[in-house]
């Protein structure tokens, strides 16, 4: 199954819910979770937000697991490092390799970091999975976030799909010609892919500039206010 977060954000039961509400709720919950720093609360948040995402927003559990899996992988690696290489204090476990030890301090760090992230992840997921980027950007614009940041985010958001598509196509083309057959060829193919993508991006950015200029772009993206639907 292909995981397309953008598609999910557009097609779930909470897409049309007020984006300000979702944005503020997310920020509030994040702050509370981080400030309380309580292991039980972290677990509580994880469960509650997961239920909201799965049951209220009606997002497929497979998609949700995929959403969690990538940051989880990073999280586990980070916590292992924290556990082994950080903190001082009483030694509670000796690995016996190169004098690497687990201390009370490092165990504390690792567990708390893990649980905090675990609690915050579904909060962020709630916003990311239920709200299309365009709506979030609109909120931020109305909240007076600097224009330049929003414009960059907006252009990035749109070009990233073209960019990913391009990478996908090129990678498949290389793969058909056995470009990823061995480690060595994989490195070479990846190098070629990256340099070509860079040049092509430059080319694309020039064309995009022409297209924008053609429609009277003056260096600032104007804001469109859609007509309110009359019911």
């Amino acid at each position: 199954m292909k995981f397309d977060m953008d598609y999910i954000a557009h097609h779930n039961a909470l897409t049309e819910t007020n984006p300000y509400f979702k944005l503020f709720l997310t920020i509030l919950l994040l702050i509370v979770t981080l400030a309380l720093d309580n292991l039980y609360f972290d677990v509580f948040m994880f469960i509650v937000m997961s239920i909201i995402i799965l049951a209220v927003a009606k997002i497929n559990y497979k998609s949700y697991l995929k959403f969690l899996s990538l940051p989880m992988a990073f999280l586990v690696i980070t916590c292992i490092f924290l556990l082994l290489f950080f903190g001082k204090g009483e030694v509670i476990y000796e690995t016996g390799i190169l004098g690497i030890v687990v201390t009370t301090d490092s165990l504390h760090y690792a567990v708390y970091t893990f649980m905090r992230v675990l609690g915050c992840l579904p909060c962020l997921g709630f916003l990311a999975l239920t709200t299309p980027i365009a709506k979030i950007l609109n909120c931020l614009r109305n909240l007076k976030v600097p224009r330049i940041m929003i414009e960059i985010a907006l252009l990035m958001y749109n070009t990233i799909f073209i960019f990913l598509n391009e990478i996908d196509t090129m990678q498949k083309a290389q793969d058909t010609r056995l470009g990823y057959h061995s480690y060595w060829t994989s490195f070479k193919s990846l190098g070629a892919l990256v340099s070509t993508i860079f040049l092509r991006s430059l080319d694309k950015s020039e064309t995009l500039q022409f297209a924008l200029d053609s429609r009277g772009y003056n260096g600032e993206l104007p804001v469109y206010e859609p007509r309110k639907k009359e019911n």
């Binding site: 953008d6 365009a134 297209a211 200029d213 053609s214 429609r215 469109y224």
Partner: protein, 277 residues
């Protein structure tokens, strides 16, 4: 009216893409610019609303010379709209309506007017109901329509389309040519670059042939497609129906030098031949 006078343009000083092109397109015409890949069609198009500035030569719109200061550019870019070959290059906003609104907003129109124009333009290209959709969730043909709506919303006098049929499925091509014909009837001058010759006689009243940065011929489709030497030079061929009748002539059927270019013409001709024998 759009007039280009002796335009020359080079990339990087060592490759001259346009070597002195002059052409004139009257108001309300629908013309095709034929030429193979790399003939300079896109380069020429980017001159028509001042994206590129020619090394030599001028562009005139309604008899007024194109100037390159900010204010004139805005005016001319409203009059001459370019639809880019790849809609992905043109559509940048996160939703369809925001993209269509981009041009009119840049013209500094009031929001009410912009909303009207967005609605109207989307309805015109048959994309009403997709206002809130993200462009990357649309099909190729739909993206093309949105790109055209984005230009229509600026109410241009002249619409320039670079290879509009590239990448469309057959039904998409038919729908597009119907749309362009309608827009032309509503008074918009339309310039299309293409190397797909089969459809050209259906819409174009006039054809220009561009080869290696030089305009080598202009005329009605009938005139152009009757000159094999020009087509060969431009790496083009006659429409498939024309080809059929030229081959029939070789089999001994007399065509009186009149070869049909479109399916309709071919049908008439075919029935004529049947009745004769």
């Amino acid at each position: 009216m759009l007039e280009v006078k002796n335009i020359k343009y080079s990339y990087n000083a060592d490759y001259q893409a346009l070597k002195g092109v002059s052409l004139k397109i009257e108001k309300g015409e629908m013309v095709a610019l034929l030429g193979k890949n790399g003939a300079g069609k896109s380069t020429l198009f980017l001159h028509l609303n001042g994206i590129y500035r020619p090394d030599e030569g001028q562009v005139f719109i309604d008899g007024e010379e194109l100037k390159y200061d900010k204010k004139s550019l805005l005016k001319f870019r409203q009059k001459v709209g370019i639809v880019f070959q790849n809609p992905d290059d043109q559509i940048f906003a996160p939703t369809v309506e925001e993209d269509v609104a981009f041009g009119p907003l840049n013209l500094g129109l009031p929001m009410e007017e912009v909303q009207d124009r967005v609605e109207e333009a989307l309805a015109r290209v048959g994309m009403s109901g997709f206002e809130k959709t993200a462009p990357h969730h649309l099909s190729g043909g739909q993206k093309k329509r949105v790109a055209i709506a984005g230009i229509l919303a600026m109410k241009p006098e002249i619409m320039v389309l670079d290879e509009p049929t590239a990448g469309l499925d057959p039904q998409g091509v038919v729908d597009l040519s119907i749309l362009l014909n309608e827009l032309n009837e509503e008074g918009i001058t339309i310039v299309i670059s293409t190397h797909e010759v089969d459809l050209v006689p259906n819409y174009a009243e006039k054809v220009f042939v561009l080869v290696d940065g030089l305009l080598i011929a202009e005329g009605t489709p009938k005139e152009i497609f009757a000159k094999p030497e020009i087509l060969e030079q431009a790496n083009l061929k006659v429409p498939i129906v024309t080809d059929l009748f030229q081959q029939l002539e070789r089999e001994g059927f007399d065509m009186n030098g009149d070869y049909p270019l479109t399916i309709d013409e071919a049908k008439e001709k075919f029935l004529d031949l049947l009745n004769k024998n």
